[in-house]
């Protein structure tokens, strides 16, 4: 493609150069033809002017005087001057008075020339002036017609020699000059052409008979030998003489041919060099790309530690460098992904382990009905709730660790372990949380804290002792006829204590509450009002309370109320990720006043 483009450019450039060269040659040869024609005209003008006083002298004395002979000496080229007069006896012109530098010179000339006289005479009467070299050498004749009022015109014949002038026509070279007549006869020129008709060898158009003589011009012709020639011509201005210059196009455009050859040579060298360099460069690039290709193959096999050697600072080198970075990054990401997968697996294990920390979501202890719900914001959470029956008491736990995620989950695990032990010791809620506080503080060193609420409910007397460690106060709905309203909510907030883990020696107080048959308790963490919808708008306390009241008022059992409540916030949530862990449970003392509490409590999963 580049070679073709270069060739096209070369062809156009050569064409332009050739046209320019042709124009230059035309211009040059035309100037030379005009110059030579001008020189000849000047010579002839001078010769003719020299004869004017001689003719005046002749008219006065009817013969050439000594003054005329003196004038003749002024011009070296003028040899003779003869007056041809009409001879009625012969019916033709005869030689009259003669003025000459050499005795009998004209007579000798006339003896040879008189046979060509008549044709010259015909031309004379047509053209007024005839200039010719009858013997195709440097001797020229100029015949002028002088009209006379009486009788036939006189003919003035000038015989002169143009040796120096004729020499410049004789040289046969690349550019030839010819002095020709209108009929094409070559008067001066290279020796081989003398006497021939120019039209026989060069079909020039300016000599066409129907064209007016005179002027100058150029033309391109193809000669009989199928050689293209550039021809320029210029009229001498005397008689029907023309100076013609011809040069073969091959000679004229020799420089173009040289340029063409050199250009072709240069083009070949250039293309060759370019091809060699391209092969070298492509080989280098191919080698680098092959290495890259092999490296990608290694990566596809899972060998991410592959590295390509960077051998250049060009784009391919940059590509190799970027490949190495990419491979390193992929390798790092693979390790990271593996690590993440491992951590994910561990979190999944932690989630499963944490699930064991929670009790079954539903339980019945005699008339006591419990239903709970828990959902962590991530794999594991910081909320915890539980219930345990120890003898006639049911311990009700709910807690929320600072933050959520793995750190919070660990502390809840520790809390659960400690709580399990504390329950068996029969501690009151205040003492239980005080002990738990020490345990959490020792584990977390004040970095993680937990809000907690612990209620210890006697399922025979319905007396409940509770201790709140800065947790959301549970709701108490006293048994009543008719639906619950917001104003019916009582809060288990008669004591409030520091969060667990806040200070090792914190002291905790507790409150005793007497529940009645039909009373209902609702425990929750702050994740409930913080449930978000897709617009990241929190559910809020108002809607939370409203949803809870609706659920309680429309559901006969705590299990159904919990399900209804779950539906209400799931509608709001629309699958949005939780902002915080979500925990709540309902404890209801069923209105079965006469029911005996047995040891056959049911716990459902």
């Amino acid at each position: 493609m580049p070679a073709a483009a270069l060739m096209a450019y070369l062809a156009i450039a050569l064409k332009v150069f050739k046209d320019d060269k042709v124009a230059y040659v035309f211009d040059t040869t035309s100037q030379m033809s005009s110059s030579i024609a001008g020189q000849l005209k000047t010579r002839l003008d001078n010769i003719v002017k020299l004869t004017q006083p001689i003719l005046v002298d002749l008219a006065q004395y009817q013969d050439f005087s000594r003054l005329s002979r003196a004038f003749l000496q002024f011009d070296s080229s003028l040899q003779s001057m003869a007056i041809m007069v009409w001879d009625d006896t012969t019916g033709g012109y005869k030689v009259g008075p003669v003025l000459e530098k050499e005795a009998y010179g004209f007579e000798k000339f006339w003896t040879q020339w008189k046979d060509q006289w008549n044709p010259s005479l015909v031309q004379l009467f047509m053209n007024q002036t005839v200039v010719t070299n009858p013997f195709l050498d440097d001797r020229f004749t100029l015949v002028q017609k002088i009209e006379r009022p009486n009788g036939r015109p006189l003919l003035v014949v000038l015989l002169f020699q143009l040796s120096d002038f004729s020499q410049q026509f004789q040289t046969l070279s690349a550019q030839n000059f010819f002095l020709i007549q209108k009929d094409g006869k070559i008067l001066l020129g290279p020796e081989t052409y003398l006497g021939q008709n120019l039209k026989d060898s060069l079909p020039v158009r300016f000599l066409d008979l129907n064209r007016q003589a005179g002027g100058s011009g150029v033309e391109t012709i193809t000669d009989k030998k199928d050689v293209n020639r550039l021809v320029s011509y210029a009229s001498v201005g005397w008689g029907d003489l023309y100076v013609v210059s011809t040069v073969t196009e091959a000679n004229a455009l020799g420089a173009v041919e040289i340029l063409k050859r050199k250009s072709l040579l240069f083009l070949i060298v250039l293309i060759s060099a370019t091809t060699i360099l391209s092969l070298f460069a492509s080989s280098s690039i191919t080698h680098a790309l092959t290495k890259l290709f092999e490296a990608t193959g290694e990566i596809s096999k899972g060998h991410f530690d592959v590295k390509v050697e960077v051998e250049s600072s060009d784009e391919v080198g940059a590509l190799a460098e970027n490949f190495n970075k990419m491979a390193a990054e992929v390798s790092r990401l693979v390790v990271q992904t593996a690590e993440k997968a491992r951590m994910q697996g561990e979190l999944e294990t932690a989630r499963m382990v944490q699930e064991t920390l929670f009790p079954p979501p539903r339980a019945d202890f005699g008339s006591l009905e419990i239903a709970g719900f828990y959902e962590p914001a991530s794999e594991v959470g910081g909320d915890w709730w539980s219930y345990t029956r120890i003898g006639d008491h049911v311990y009700l736990w709910i807690g929320d660790a600072t933050g959520h995620g793995a750190g919070a989950a660990l502390i809840t695990s520790a809390a659960k372990s400690a709580a399990g032990l504390i329950e068996t010791l029969g501690f009151s809620p205040a003492n239980a949380l005080q002990a738990l506080n020490k345990s959490i503080y020792d584990v977390s060193r004040g970095k993680v804290m937990m809000t907690f609420f612990l209620g210890k409910l006697n399922i025979k007397t319905y007396e409940m002792v509770y201790c709140n460690a800065s947790h959301e106060a549970p709701f108490l709905f006293k048994s009543k006829d008719g639906p619950y309203k917001k104003k019916d909510i009582e809060f288990l907030d008669q004591n409030n204590n520091p969060r667990l883990g806040q200070g090792r020696d914190s002291e905790y107080t507790e409150t005793t509450l007497q529940l009645s048959e039909g009373d209902l308790l609702f425990f929750y963490t702050d994740g409930v009002p913080d449930i978000r919808n897709p617009k990241n708008e929190a559910w809020g306390e108002r809607e939370f309370i409203k949803g809870l009241l609706t659920s309680l008022n429309t559901s006969p059992s705590s299990h159904e109320a919990l399900s209804h409540f779950c539906e209400s916030f799931q509608v709001y949530r629309q699958g949005t990720t939780l902002a915080d862990d979500l925990t709540f449970f309902i404890v209801k003392n069923k209105e079965d006043k006469n029911r005996e509490v047995s040891s056959n409590e049911q716990v459902s999963m």
Binding site: D400, T402, G403, F491, D493, Q502, R542
Partner: protein, 158 residues
């Protein structure tokens, strides 16, 4: 999310703090040392939310105070909720100068926060809410809180 911001104005022994944004584990209370001030006013008007980690940081910060008389002003609901729930959030040496009470109109859904000021709408153990709060359409609004829970820190029954 707007980060925790604080503007401090110290004039002699009176320190005025204007807090805003979110109080969470990233909230830095270190530059807000209360030492040396005898009177500290904390303007909480621009607080957007506070999480459990933020509560921990708050209690550590405010609990470090030993001498200054601290006043909470323009407490939004998120702060009042913590004052009621978390022991130590409103320590004994701190008083509430003013706090917001949310009101709403059930049918129109309009909401408004009314600033309750000490000595006007409340004082120790007593609440004197405005006799009537109306929205821009003239609808009577009711408190958007559970009063027994929300005013607990005043230790009063309305």
């Amino acid at each position: 999310m707007s980060k925790f911001q604080c503007k401090v104005d110290r004039q002699g022994q009176k320190l005025t703090l204007q807090l805003g944004g979110i109080i969470d584990e990233d909230a830095d209370f270190a530059p807000l040392a209360l030492q040396g001030a005898q009177e500290v006013q904390i303007d909480l008007d621009a607080i957007k939310s506070i999480n459990s980690c933020g509560i921990r940081e708050w209690i550590k910060w405010i609990g470090a105070n030993s001498t200054a008389k601290v006043v909470y002003a323009k407490c939004p609901k998120v702060i009042v909720d913590q004052m009621n729930m978390v022991d130590g959030f409103l320590p004994a040496f701190a008083k509430v100068e003013s706090f917001y009470v949310p009101y709403y109109h059930e049918d129109s859904g309009s909401e408004k926060n009314i600033l309750f000021r000490y000595g006007v709408e409340f004082k120790e153990g007593q609440i004197q809410p405005p006799t009537e709060v109306k929205d821009e359409s003239g609808n009577p609004m009711e408190m958007d809180i559970i009063e027994s829970k929300y005013f607990k820190f005043i230790k009063a029954k309305v």
